[in-house]
């Protein structure tokens, strides 16, 4: 073997400097979600990155063109599977916009309550998974414990822990259970306490902070042009929250703030999520006060809402009504409509084209994390390899909605 310290001739470099291609994913341990990132490296710095999605493409839009409008609800659940209830509410609002109906006020508060609970779950999963990928496993356990408390409420209300399919066009599947308010009132302080415990473990940790601060910076102008929305947009300093700026349901009647970041780095995104959990808790408190204990939940329109079971079994009108809604679907007026809500990741939009029949002609979902993931390439270019992990975690790419 030749000695290592050979004299190098002029112009000959000690190390080969060809850029190296590295493939991360699509099944990578430090990434939740299925994404493949091909990076071109010089040393440890990323020169170029190519983010490839589509590993969880399940044909959501094609499936929706087959069933009735109500049959879309289970598919909608599995778009952003960290907060299914927000998607349920968003889709129900979209169809109601086309039908021109407004649900009773009690139902609106109920939807807000369930939606905000789901938003807390969404942020908990994202922050927890992000901390776990950075090696902080314990906060993840705290956050999951807090999430399980909220899931217990969902289970009591809807019968399912995760995929609730609880929204209906023109109302909800069931009215609030008698002890719903009490459950939420007692569990929200417990959840906030657990979150504080979890945060205390990381927010003064030097390693955690060093990996978040000044990593993955996105400017406000770029974020807007990229079509970002939700937490990732607000972390850059742009103030846009669909709940504040284009209020829907009863969001204009609650007193809540919109947390806005300054730099748009990973730390801002993490902290915006944590701050938003507190704001959601505030909304929940107010909505609990405002929601009436008695009153209708569904609209009174026999063309939209299924009749009660006693009528279905005992009267011919009820049977026919039930049959028409289930077999033919709700007749949505022909036309096109874009409806949007603030979901866990940002603006969740539904662009729907109806031909006047019971089946959607085209149902397009505008997934918030699709736009955010499109910006990932810009975020990680020029950074180091280990920066991919927190940056990707803070984007909160949810495969179900990002890949449709």
């Amino acid at each position: 073997m030749e000695p290592l310290d050979v004299e190098l001739e002029d112009g000959e470099l000690e190390l080969p400097t060809d850029p190296m291609l590295l493939n991360m994913g699509p099944s990578h341990p430090a990434m939740h979600g299925t994404v493949r990132i091909v990076v071109e490296l010089s040393g440890e710095t990323i020169n170029k990155a190519d983010v490839q999605i589509g590993y969880l493409h399940r044909g959501f839009e094609k499936m929706c063109e087959r069933g009735t409008w109500s049959q879309v609800f289970p598919y909608v659940d599995r778009l952003n599977y960290a907060s299914p209830m927000l998607n349920n509410v968003g889709f129900a609002l979209a169809v109601e916009k086309m039908l021109g109906v407004t649900v009773p006020e009690r139902c609106q508060h109920y939807r807000v309550l369930l939606g905000e609970l789901a938003r807390i779950c969404d942020h908990l999963v994202c922050s927890g998974a992000m901390a776990m990928e950075l090696g902080a496993f314990t906060p993840f356990l705290y956050f999951i414990k807090a999430r399980d408390i909220i899931w217990d409420i969902f289970e009591e209300e809807t019968g399912a822990r995760l995929t609730n399919s609880f929204g209906r066009v023109g109302g909800m599947a069931h009215e609030p259970s008698p002890n719903f308010k009490e459950m939420v009132r007692t569990s929200i302080p417990a959840v906030v306490d657990l979150i504080k415990d979890g945060e205390n473990l990381v927010l003064e940790n030097r390693i955690f902070l060093d990996r978040l601060e000044d990593v993955g910076i996105m400017s406000k102008e770029d974020a807007i042009a990229l079509g970002w929305s939700g937490v990732v947009l607000r972390s850059t300093g742009a103030n846009y929250d669909a709940r504040k700026h284009h209020p829907y349901m009863t969001y204009d009647r609650y007193d809540f703030d919109v947390p806005v970041g300054q730099k748009g780095d990973n730390y801002d995104r993490f902290m915006c999520r944590q701050a938003e959990i507190r704001q959601s808790a505030r909304i929940i408190e107010q909505a609990l006060e405002m929601m009436a204990d008695e009153g209708p939940v569904n609209v009174e329109d026999p063309r939209i809402i299924l009749p009660p079971k006693e009528q279905v079994y005992n009267t011919i009108e009820g049977t026919i009504q039930h049959f028409k809604i289930v077999m033919e679907g709700i007749k949505v007026p022909a036309g096109e409509c874009y409806s949007y809500t603030e979901s866990g990741n940002g603006e969740l939009g539904f662009y729907m084209v109806s031909d006047g029949s019971g089946t959607p002609w085209r149902l397009r979902i505008r997934p918030p994390s699709f736009a955010s993931t499109a910006g990932l390439e810009q975020l990680i270019t020029g950074q180091m390899i280990p920066d991919i992990v927190p940056t990707f975690g803070s984007i909160n790419m949810i495969g179900g909605e990002c890949d449709h």
């Binding site: 589509g54 094609k62 079509g227 284009h246 007749k331 662009y351 006047g356 029949s357």
Partner: protein, 209 residues
């Protein structure tokens, strides 16, 4: 609220605006494909519009309902003025079944990049001037464009050969009268075929009941 944007568009482009409507409260302008890029640039830069926030770009296939067959749909909003508007353009297949073509908007909003790649993947609409028009959601080997109405929803194109003898006999027992696994759904086809009747058309060109 966004009416002002529609007025500005009509004033600026005149004949190139094919129609406008505000069904369900969404202001919409249909423009010719020739001015597609120009309209987008105008909407972004005009001081009264300032539609800087890119929201969505997608396409719709109106097979058997309308000519031209496809429609590219763009949504955007303004951060400052809180306008929201939808702009659409009809695009047609070429005479020999070539893919429809329309200008790319990547140089107007960076975010249009992935949305256009998705529209190319799902509908086969070519965006002229797109820097990197590859498939996004499906794989390179995939043939056809799945969201077109003439693509069969059940038509899979597996990358891996399926195993021999994978029938789920052992845990699931003998066949119980219905095949476990894939079933053919023809319902949507029947549904589409059954509605091809003449009638007065509405705003979308659909027959009304």
């Amino acid at each position: 609220m966004s009416k002002v944007v529609l007025k500005r568009l009509e004033k600026r482009f005149g004949e190139a605006i094919l129609s406008t409507h505000d069904q369900f409260g969404d202001e919409t302008a249909v423009v010719t494909p020739e001015v597609w890029h120009e309209v987008a640039l105008f909407l972004r830069d005009d001081s009264r519009c300032q539609m800087d926030h890119f929201i969505d770009l997608t396409a719709v296939d109106y097979l058997g309902r309308r000519t031209p067959r496809f429609e590219v749909v763009l949504h955007m909003r303004s951060m400052q003025k809180l306008h929201r508007i939808r702009v659409k353009t009809p695009v047609a297949m070429g005479p020999d079944g070539e893919n429809p073509k329309v200008d790319s908007l990547v140089d107007v909003w960076k975010g249009a990049n992935w949305f256009e790649r998705e529209a190319w993947d799902m509908f086969g609409i070519e965006f002229k001037g797109h820097p990197d028009l590859r498939r996004l959601l499906m794989y390179e080997e995939f043939e056809g464009h799945p969201l077109r109405k003439d693509y069969d929803a059940n038509k899979t194109q597996p990358l891996v050969e399926y195993r021999e003898g994978y029938e789920k006999q052992a845990p699931f027992g003998l066949p119980e009268g219905m095949p476990f696994g894939r079933q053919v759904h023809d319902r949507w086809k029947v549904h589409v075929a059954g509605r091809q009747t003449d009638g007065k058309t509405n705003i979308l060109g659909f027959e009304e009941d």
